[in-house]
């Protein structure tokens, strides 16, 4: 850090500090920007302001007790982080999960993905000056929050998954409420397209900005919507399905409304630019609605009340890597266990972490104002970088 601040800028360049409290930096992020007028020669991200040593904390507690901490890895989409931890420990222990729990996991993951994308889409538009979209999407997000609150009692940090299942079954009448939301939300997304996705100013502001090629995305380890916007056609839910995703996807296929992985393309934007990173998420919301609808149909065939089979003793020995498709992409959790009550070592590799690393390379030659577009389009969440 000190090395950067003390460096003398060349020629007319100056060093501009952005953050750590800049409101458009999505949590506490800091950038050290070298700029000559409006054009940057480099923006160096300085992260770590939200480092809570989650991996160290994990070593001091039992596998079950760590669940609420995973909420804090990504507090905008806590459900998939829960899922990632549960999945990894279940893989390690060999614990079975009842089908009802698997469906509930899919439903909650997808609902949470939608509500997380609401934040991203709204914030992206707001960062570029379109204020309407954010509160408008927050209204929709509230509905998801209400649904999840009714299910598990929390609106943000759910602590809903358990090793071997989920904490509680659906309350009476809940599926109907979810269906009402799903029915309502499809047209809302179409309205969103009319409101912002195709808006001339918005498109001009994002088209061709900070283009990440597919090869770069793979090399930088970008995952999830960010990688897909660059044309990396890979989604764990389709290509390495976990839980009952395969069954839900097959169900959708049968009904003639197959799950389609949203991939960036040269349309209003150029593959890999900020516009595609925005629009891939709009498409993902549509796909998530399909998944929720199908999972809700299939869950009716599972017996009520069978939502959790807690393993008798969690004292695994060995190691495992668990992967889920979180809202910010492929999240990996690697656990080393030595037969104790507590994990010996756990490591999380998250989508925001690798996405953030691309900022420095992509900022070269970018306008300062476009840096905001880049950060917003990458949908980085500081706690997920810092853990």
């Amino acid at each position: 850090m000190s090395e950067i601040v003390l460096a003398t800028p060349a020629g007319e360049e100056m060093i501009l500090n952005m953050g750590p409290h800049h409101p458009s930096t999505h949590g506490v992020l800091r950038f050290i920007v070298r700029t000559d007028g409006e054009v940057m020669s480099e923006a160096k991200p300085d992260v770590g302001y939200l480092h809570r040593a989650i991996e160290k904390i994990c070593e001091g507690m039992t596998y079950e007790a760590f669940m609420p901490y995973t909420d804090r890895i990504d507090y905008v989409a806590a459900m998939p982080a829960n899922h990632c931890w549960a999945l990894t420990v279940e893989k390690l222990v060999g614990a079975p999960v009842p089908p009802r729990a698997e469906y509930l996991r899919i439903i909650t993951d997808e609902l949470n993905r939608i509500s997380s994308h609401h934040i991203m889409l709204g914030a992206h538009a707001m960062d570029l000056g379109a204020v309407t979209v954010f509160p408008w999407l927050l209204r929709e997000r509230e509905m998801v929050n209400d649904l999840l609150e009714e299910l598990c009692g929390a609106r943000l940090t759910y602590n809903y998954h358990r090793i071997g299942g989920v904490a509680v079954d659906m309350p009476a009448g809940w599926p109907d409420k979810v269906m009402r939301f799903v029915d309502r939300h499809g047209p809302i997304l179409d309205e969103l397209d009319r409101l912002i996705s195709g808006n001339e100013i918005f498109v001009k502001r994002n088209r061709g900005v900070a283009v990440v090629t597919a090869a770069e995305a793979r090399s930088y380890g970008m995952v999830g919507p960010n990688a897909r916007a660059s044309g990396v056609d890979y989604d764990l839910r389709r290509d390495a399905p976990y839980g009952l995703y395969a069954k839900v996807l097959a169900g959708l296929e049968q009904k003639g409304t197959p799950f389609e992985v949203a991939v960036g393309r040269d349309a209003l934007g150029v593959t890999g630019d900020c516009w595609n990173r925005f629009y891939v998420r709009v498409e993902e919301c549509r796909q998530s609605l399909k998944l929720v609808r199908e999972a809700l149909a299939q869950i009716q065939e599972t017996p009520a009340g069978e939502f959790w089979t807690p393993p008798k003793k969690i004292r695994p020995k060995g190691e495992a890597l668990g992967r889920v498709e979180a809202a910010r992409g492929w999240m990996s959790c690697y656990v080393v266990a030595t037969g104790e009550k507590t994990p010996y070592r756990a490591h999380f590799r998250t989508g925001s972490f690798t996405s953030m690393a691309v900022v420095r390379a992509k900022s070269r030659g970018l306008m300062v104002a476009d840096l905001v577009a880049l950060i917003a389009s990458l949908d980085v969440i500081a706690p997920e970088i810092d853990r």
Binding site: G48, H51, K56, G221, E319, V336, A357
Partner: protein, 187 residues
């Protein structure tokens, strides 16, 4: 390609540099060990060999084993075109863990290695910008080491604060005293 086949291919190319293919009983993702001396070459083969094509370095994890005085680095690789994965482990001495950086092969290694340097103290030789990533530049020690002790202070700021539960008796006593005085006033 299955991990075992990948391993056989590596052994055929590198001989005893690659060894100990381990799977089963608790090991949910099979791994093999690589000697640190030729790590870069092994990794380059993994990335560039047409039958392997590991174009995605998924994660790097350092694990501290003080009993055997070792630090293990675990590399998780994945191939998008061929849809297979592979796990490699490199064992380093705990006193001065030093290994070749992979930043020239995968851009993602830049931050992944900085994180492990920061939290575990592994030095990656040839890394373009090896600085702490998450902790402040002047932080002492590497917290994920098993023998790490948290310092009491950082630049005059305490790193711990008393548990609210310890403060509770005093808080209660204060409240009771207050209630007693109000009741006294009512009378």
């Amino acid at each position: 390609m299955l991990p075992k086949e990948t391993y056989d291919l590596l052994v055929a190319t590198f001989g005893e540099i690659v060894s100990d293919f381990t799977e089963g009983s608790g090991i949910k993702d099979p791994f093999c060990r690589v000697k640190p001396e030729r790590l870069l070459e092994v990794m380059r083969t993994l990335r560039d060999h047409p039958a392997l094509q590991f174009d995605f370095l998924e994660s790097i994890t350092a694990v501290d084993w003080p009993k055997s005085s070792e630090i293990q680095l675990v590399y998780h690789l994945f191939s998008y075109p061929l849809r297979h994965d592979f796990v490699l482990k490199v064992t380093l001495g705990r006193e001065a863990p030093n290994v070749a950086s992979l930043a020239a092969l995968w851009d993602s290694a830049d931050w992944l290695e900085r994180e492990q340097y920061d939290l575990m103290g592994v030095v990656f030789a040839g890394h373009p910008d090896l600085r702490r990533l998450l902790l402040p530049e002047d932080w002492d020690g590497h917290p994920l080491r098993k023998d790490y002790r948290q310092p009491a202070e950082y630049r005059g700021m305490r790193t711990t604060r008393p548990s609210p539960l310890d403060l509770l008796p005093a808080f209660d006593a204060h409240n009771r005293a207050q209630q007693a005085t109000t009741k006294g006033d009512e009378k």
